[in-house]
């Protein structure tokens, strides 16, 4: 792919900022839904039990650590692939 000029680069970065916001919100919502689905299974009352609440807390913790780790590995692999001229071809 041809390199972008600095002006094109700036335009691209502008467009990316909006997307990052969206992606962050999407990840946040995924986390809420995932931990709700995995931890909440009884509907005898309308408040969380203490057991459910601590499950949610551990769930959030674990998945944040998980995506941190996955993100690190993903970037390493992506960098390695770019260096070897992998998927993005040429």
């Amino acid at each position: 792919m041809d390199a972008l000029t600095p002006a094109e680069q700036r335009e691209l970065e502008g467009r990316m900022q909006k997307k990052q916001m969206k992606e962050f919100m999407n990840m946040y919502s995924n986390l809420v839904q995932r931990c709700f689905d995995d931890c909440i299974n009884g509907f005898e009352s309308k408040s969380l039990t203490s057991r459910e609440e601590s499950c949610v807390m551990r769930c959030v913790d674990k998945h944040m650590k998980g995506s941190q780790r996955l993100g690190d590995r993903f970037q390493e692999q992506n960098a390695a692939m770019a260096a070897s001229g992998g998927l993005s071809g040429r």
Partner: protein, 92 residues
């Protein structure tokens, strides 16, 4: 979710609108996910009857309350994390 949308000073009209838009999108996305999760947990998928029975109705009501509570807990937790370390877990 003030930690998501809060506090940039001196923003333009376009930014104000975009921010309001983002909040509405967030609420609407939450509603979509709540419908998915609560329908799955509360509605019997054999569909023997067209009406919600008593058990399903009560389950749906409580499910909404619990979904909101989880949302609040997760939001509080992440605000806490965001204050502890600046930087953040969700950078890609």
């Amino acid at each position: 979710m003030s930690f998501l949308f809060g506090g940039r000073p001196q923003i333009s009209s376009e930014q104000k609108i975009a921010q309001a838009e983002a909040e509405i999108d967030m609420v609407s996305d939450m509603y979509t996910r709540l419908v998915q999760s609560c329908s799955k947990k509360c509605i019997d998928n054999s569909y023997r009857e067209a009406d919600l029975n008593k058990g399903e109705s009560v389950c749906l009501d409580r499910c909404v309350a619990k979904f909101f509570e989880v949302n609040v807990k997760v939001s509080e937790k992440m605000q806490g994390e965001a204050q502890n370390k600046s930087g953040g877990m969700f950078n890609m």
